[in-house]
Structures are given as C-alpha cells and as structure tokens.
Subunit: 528 residues, 2 copies
C-alpha cells in the first residue's frame, strides 16, 4: 500500500484525526513506484554524483533502468563533503590545499545538519543504514560578539543565554506593565490578562512586582574566592552561588543586537529547531552509502563537455583521461549546478539556458581550524552549537562529536554574501589569519592552541561554483518553471529544482520527482 | 599550580578580563590537595557507593588514605542507575520486577542528564574516560497535552513548536502595539523603541503591520494530495508547502498552558539549557568507571545497621550474609540518604538526627516502556526530548541514543509529588496500564507497538527512599547546617549536603568538600 493509497483509504478517519491534532505527515518510506516490464534495461545517463544524482540512480536502478552516473570529481557527494586529514581541493585560480587534520577529526564542508522534519533525508539514512547522532544547533552557552555597533556592550563577547534571558525578561516586563495599566485595547477578559501575566512571569522570570531584575537562568557569578571543591555555581556546604546582574535594556538595544546576524535562528527557524541530526563520522556517509548501492555505475573524473538532445534521447561528451568520450542514452538526469551548467556546450532550450545564466547562487565559505586542545569544552563549557558575530567570520561552529577528545576541529568561519566574498578572495594563509584574529576576540585561547587549517569557498570550487540556488519571487516566476519540465529527454534535478534549496532533502525530493516523471512517461501512467 | 593559585596570581589580569567578558570559570580539574605523609594508611569508612561515596573513596585513595566503602545494594551508583534487560528491583512492599528489555535498550532510572555547566561532573567523565554524547532536552517537535483545562485546545496534543511560536508571536505583537501607541512611560528614546520593535518583529515573526498572523516556524500543513516524492513540507517542483494556521491567543490562554507543568523548563532553566550530555551506554558508566578505580575497596550487600562514634573514631555494624559484622576506622564519610539514615541505630548528634527526620525528599517515579518500533521517530519526527502533560504521567522522554533502531525504550512517565505518589501506590501492572492509557492520548501507536515495561518509584526503593532532598528556606536554616559539620569523626556527603540537590554534580562537590575537610584536619592546614 503506497502512502497515497493509505491516505485515500483513510480520508474520513484523517479528517477526524486532524481535528484532534493526532495527525502527522505519513512517515516517509522507501520509494514505491509500480514495477514496469517496459522500464527494464532502458538507459539513463545521470550527470553529477551529488545526492540528487546518486539517489536518482539508486531509485531508477531499483526499477530496472540501466544507469550510468558521470561525475566530474574524483569523489561522490558534491556539496556533501567531509574534510578530513588528506582531503585535497584546488579552488579556481587557487593553490592546492591538503588537510593536515589529525586522525578522527573532520568538519562537514557543505551540508552539515539534518532537520528532524526532513523526512526524506532521514528515510534514506534509515534505508541505507547510516547511523545518526545529534547535531547541536542552538547552544545557550555559545557567544555573541558584536564588533561594529558603538554601544556599551559591543566589542566584547556575551553568552547567548545572557542575551536571551535578558531580552525575554525586559519584554515580558514591558508587556506585563502595559497589561497592568490596561493600556492595550484588546479583546482579552480580565481573566485572560491574568493568565497572560502568569505566562509572562514565567517567560521572563519576573518578580512578584512583575519586574525583571535578573534571573538564575543566566547562571552564576564567578567567585574567585570560592572553595576548590566548587565549580563556579552553587555547590557543597555553605555555597548557594551568587547570581549575575542583567545587562540594561537600553544597553542591549544600543549595542546592535537587533540585526539578522544575531537572530535566534537556531531555536526558531523550522529547519533548525531541535532536534537536528548528523551522520556519525561525517556527512559524506550518506553519499558513500548510496555509492555502495551503485557498484559499476559511477564514472569519476568525467567532466561533461557537451550535452545534446538527439532523436533517440541524449548524447553526452565528457572528458576521460584528457580525451573526449561519448555516451548516449534514452534519458538524461542533469543535476549539474546551474553556474556550472551554463558553461557547458549544449543545445538546451532557451528558457533552461536563461535559468542557468540568471539564477544566482550564494557565495559561502568555511574554514576548519584544528586546535591542540578542546578549550571551548574544557574552559567554556561549549559542547556543539554556534557563536555569532558581525565580524567577517560570522559564525563559529563547535563540533557535536568527539566530546572531550584531545584535539578538535571547529569551524572558524561560516559566512555568506559579501563577507564570504571578501574572505574567499584572500590567500589561504590570509583566510587563516582572519579566522584566527577575529576568532581570538571570542576565544583568546586560539593563539596558544592552534595547529592547522583547511578553508573553502563554494563559489570558487570547480563543479559547484556556489553554495546553493538563491531564488526570490521574481526568479521563481521567471526562471524556475523551465527547470521543472523535461527538455526533450533531459530532466533536471538537484536542490535548485525545489523549494528546499540548500538542503539535502531538496536533492532527494528532486530525484524522486524526476524518477517519477521518467517512469510515468515510460509506463504511460499519470505522474504521482 | 592549583586553580586557587592561578586565580591569586592573575587577579589583576582577572579584573581586566572580566570587564571585557573574557573571563569564564577556571575549568574544573583533577582534585589537587597537597600530599601529606601523615595521611598515608589512615582508615576511612565510607557509607554508600553512590557517586558521593565512590568519588570520596577515589579522592581519598589518591591521597593515601585506606578506604573501605560499604554498600547496601549489590551494585554501585545509588540513584545513578541504568535499567537494562535483566535489571531487577524490589520496592518496599512490592514484588520483584525483572526488566525484559531487548539487548542494547535501556533507560536511566535516576540521574539522566549532565548540564554543560556542571563542570565537576564533566571533569570526572574526562578524568575517568567516560565517553559522552548529547542528551536532547528541549525538542520543539515533542508534544504538550493538556487534559484538565476546559478550554478549546485541551484534551488534544499540540506540538511544542506551535505553542512556543504562537505565544512569542502574540506577546511580541501586543508589546509592539503598546510601544507603537507610546502606551508605556519608559525611559526609551524613539530610537530605542524602533530597535525594540525590530527585535519583536523577529522574535515573534510579525508582519509589516506588526501583527502575528502565523509563521513558517510552525512548519507546514499536511497535504493529503501531495506528490509521493514530497515529504509534507516544501518540496520539489511546484510544491512550495502550505503554512499552518496559528491558534488563537485567547484559545491558548483559556486552555491552561500557563501552569508550571508546561513551563519552558528545557530551554530556560540554567541546568537544562542546551547543551546537555549523557554517557554513551547509560549513566551508570560513571559509577562503573569509579568502581574500577576502587578494586578491593567495595563491600556490596552490606547494609549499615549501627553507626557509633568512638574515642578513636567510628565503629560501624553492617549486615553481611545475614550476620552482623563490625568495622572500625578513624574517619567515616556517611553518604546515606537522610530517609534511610534516620532508621539506622546511631549515636549521631541531635541536630543531625533532626535533619534526617525532617528534611523531606521528593517522591518521584519513572517507567520504561519498550516498543517494537520507534514510532515517535518514524511517524512523529521526535528524536529525543520531552513531551509534557498535566495527566499523571507528566512527562514522556524519548531516547537520545540508538536513533533509527528497530525497537526502543522511552520513559512513559516521569512524575513528582502527588502524581508520583498516586501512580507508585498502584501495582506494577496498573502502573503500566496508566502509562499506556494516558500515553496513548499523545501517541495512538502505543497500543499496537507496546512490548514490556519496568517501573520504579524512588520513594519506595530500599536504601534510597526518595528522589532527592527538598529544601526550602526554612529547612536550609534549621536543618542544613548540622550536615555541614563533622559529627565527631563522621562527615556527611551526598547531594543533600549541597545547593546542587538532585544533581550528580552535588554528589561530586560534596565528596570533594569532605575529602578536603578530613585532609585539612589531618594535615592541620586551613580547609580550602
């Protein structure tokens, strides 16, 4: 029984369940297109061994199609890429870097987290036996560092918990005051207002007078005279701990924390809310698990040079050991990112070529920094999560694995747009310098503990040339539709053909969509 | 160099760092009391092999003391207890239960999470080589279920994310309105108000008119007609996803969510903020690692029957194979929980006896439910975290390990006070029945997937007889001080001798405190 069948059969029950809040999305499951004799052995050429290409080949293979995947790189995964000791990359116009990370250390250079609500990604992990662990996104112990504002709290680090609790405290206090004064002409009864104030008292940890005067949620003062057996907060014996003082509301407001870089993305955004997950050992475990299912079907080091529609399907010329090599097939699934596709000699239709030319991709970069010691854990109590700053480094990511290990790799910057462009344009050594200098403002331990680094800029990495497709309403209207229709027998997949851009789930759902499209064409059924 | 020395030496630098927010608590480290010849071989009798007793023996052993630990149970750990297949327990007046959990499945019956700011606990994990993984506390995908209120949203489950985002939305809207109307006589400049409104717009995801009309942070509608390749939210092709509708503010206010059971404890409380950690494989890994360091020093199945002060120290009578056995020592560290201590024949001082008699301990219980299938992950996208309800089951905890396994054990209730008392007073079968019936209101899959259970009530478990010490201001004043002084040569340790009651960190800090007290007495130095 397919999910569709299940839903159709139970639509009355469905309405009832929904009313009681008992309904959830039917769980994602193994893809279940109808088997077709006519599909057996039909040739499909897949361009790109990122997750879209790999999963398309995997699903088409299950249905009996004869797939070949051409991959320009020596590895699969595309923007799902884990950087370990020995990993090597040469950016456009750049020198070759080889990672010197110690054994067991890594960072995910591209996709780095799986939202718990991305069912397709989780389904593939389940189906392929990829073990998952928690990825820590929101971490109240991480820091904010605001350099550019000219306020009283700028140019210093602040625990995220302090900012969050203070702002919740003050806003709750202000609203409670407005409600106490009946200043709001709302359709709330007296009883409603009482309940709302109860909510605010807890939300902001207000005192009995409905004032915010600080909270133990901020933690405790560091007491230099504390006994050796205590650990900074409340402890044994006569040691109840000393509360910290809140920042002032106007100090917070005048220190520039209202800009997007400091938004509470990790707690609020749908795709970043707890719980997030990651494959144990690196994100490329997903690509590797798919690769295992495609033995003999992948051709690496095979950059596509020409893409042609023919009377019987498609013809592709790719480079193999420096020589042009030709392959023909009935169908093609093209997952090549648009900035790369636009430079391939093809007879793609005008609308597709325009999409390739004009859909912008984000500029984004990361650097992995290896340190001798996991000082962020040992000294700062930071286990995973993200610090945020308006400096060029933008975000520091702490690893969500290998806790308490001897060494560690953190992501010293994860930046976007002009920040990413500025940093990426520097030499490898200068990128490292910026990461260390700016990072040291948050973590003074950087200087003493640093060992080596590996940086990357997706917009300069061959065969990607960007982080992900950046649509706005206009480009969705103008360019996106062309990518949803087959151009002859060429179908397009990849995150750029979805509303889940930037996410692995986009790659997967796009692959299922084109597999369904090809299969329904072959089988002459209506695409599901 | 001790931490104290470090701090003394650097106090000028410290002040400077502090001003810039660069200071953090010095990291916890291995306990570093001065070695003393006079300590060598002196006998210390430790009562109780919970974390306080184990760590006291471990630290005293490092200093050369000759320790013996008497433990009433057949196992170490006390209230640090992991229930696995084969685990057995007999509550007072109850039958013997033996867990039937499948291999690899377990739940932590007592202590179950390590706050990232409990440095001592983390230090012991580091020092003892106990590997840690993330414990998911706050999970926006988990549910709230309000049964008793008579409001429009009661008696149905609600995703925590929906409640949080709606309340943030409405309260931000209300405050923005009050600010727009200058209804608040605050010392905020016009510019401050603009910034605060910027904050509120993001905090509540308000529209340009400063109204809350729902948010994509709540996720997407379930579209029964969605294509098979999509997963419920936005997806490939022409599938941008459909937003959900917010609940009404008055509906929320009138449905009883303002009571403590629904407080956002997991995100706000200092000890429960992200990141939380747990030992891989079960919390008892900490006790087992300490046990390894104490070979030959532990006597199990040795309940203490008498505790006497003597001229040369202490004398203890315990039961061994049904016979009274005697041990003498110079010092004693008594970690026995007060409800157990009060029934031991002793010549403890009046104030200590009164503390034992009158400090209340919390009643609390848990049940582990084994299911055939991890439906909370597969169907609901819940990976770890806690659902909350005003039903007797109070909390449902989802495991933060073994994701995507075939079977799973979740904690079907974790309750306190009268709820715990009511459920604990039932038979084992009736406890299971309540857990299944009430839990099924949140997870209808319970009935089809249930396999077996194991329940416990700490207030009925011999040698614990309670969850943890429950002090209020009055009992801190009246009873607590007696536990901080040695009674003759008897020292008291355990979470009940700290301001970290209920936490493992309390046990550890209390152990260090008494070790320091004994050692300073022996060495005639001033206790640190």
């Amino acid at each position: 029984m397919t999910r569709r069948d299940f839903i159709n059969r139970t639509s009355a029950a469905y309405a009832g369940l929904s009313a009681w809040g008992l309904l959830q999305p039917a769980p994602a499951q193994a893809f279940d297109l109808p088997p077709l004799d006519s599909a057996q052995g039909r040739k499909v050429l897949i361009l790109g061994a990122g997750l879209a290409g790999l999963s398309a080949a995997y699903e088409l293979g299950k249905l009996g199609y004869d797939c070949t995947v051409l991959e320009a790189r020596a590895r699969s995964g595309g923007r799902v890429w884990t950087v370990r000791g020995g990993t090597t990359e040469t950016e456009q116009g750049g020198p070759t870097q080889t990672s010197q990370f110690a054994g067991g250390l890594y960072f995910n250079g591209g996709a780095a987290r799986i939202p718990h609500n991305h069912q397709l990604t989780l389904q593939y992990c389940r189906e392929l036996g990829v073990p998952l662990e928690v990825f820590v996104g929101a971490n109240e112990a991480a820091y904010l560092f605001n350099e550019k504002a000219q306020g009283p709290l700028n140019n210093r680090r602040m625990r995220i918990r302090d900012y969050h609790n203070d702002m919740r405290g003050y806003t709750s206090e202000l609203l409670a005051k407005a409600l106490d004064q009946s200043a709001l002409d709302e359709k709330l009864t007296k009883e409603d207002v009482e309940k709302l104030i109860d909510f605010l008292k807890n939300e902001g940890d207000l005192n009995t007078a409905h004032l915010y005067k600080g909270t133990n949620r901020r933690g405790y003062k560091i007491d230099a005279s504390r006994p050796v057996y205590a650990d900074g907060g409340p402890g044994a014996g006569a040691n109840p701990g000393t509360l910290t003082d809140p920042y002032g509301l106007t100090d917070l407001l005048r220190s520039g924390f209202m800009q997007p870089v400091f938004y509470n993305v990790g707690e609020y955004t749908y795709e970043q809310q707890t719980t997030l997950l990651q494959p144990v050992g690196g994100m490329d475990a997903i690509a590797k698990a798919l690769e295992k299912k495609l033995a003999g079907k992948l051709v690496f080091n095979a950059p596509v040079k020409q893409l042609r529609k023919t009377e019987t399907g498609v013809r592709v010329v790719y480079e193999r050991d420096g020589k042009p090599t030709e392959l023909a097939a009935e169908f093609c699934v093209c997952t090549i990112p648009l900035p790369v596709l636009k430079n391939i000699d093809s007879d793609l239709s005008g609308p597709v070529k325009r999409a390739a030319d004009f859909v912008p991709y984000i500029k984004t970069g990361k650097i992995g920094l290896q340190f001798k010691r996991r000082f962020w854990e040992e000294d700062d109590g930071i286990y995973g999560g993200i610090s945020r700053t308006d400096m060029d480094i933008n975000q520091i990511w702490y690893p969500s694995f290998g806790f308490m290990g001897n060494k560690g790799v953190l992501i010293g910057y994860y930046n976007f747009y002009s920040r990413a462009e500025a940093v990426a344009s520097l030499s490898i050594a200068e990128r490292q310098k910026i990461a260390l200098e700016q990072g040291a403002k948050i973590h003074p331990q950087y200087a003493a503990e640093f060992e080596n680094s590996f940086s990357l800029a997706w917009h300069r990495i061959p065969y990607s040339e960007g982080g992900w497709a950046l649509y706005d309403d206009a480009s969705r209207r103008k360019f996106y539709p062309a990518l949803l229709e087959p151009d002859g027998n060429i179908y397009f997949a990849g995150e750029h053909t979805t509303y889940l851009t930037a996410w692995m789930a986009g790659a997967f759902t796009s692959a299922r969509r084109v597999v369904d499209a090809i299969h329904s064409r072959v089988g002459q059924y209506t695409q599901k």
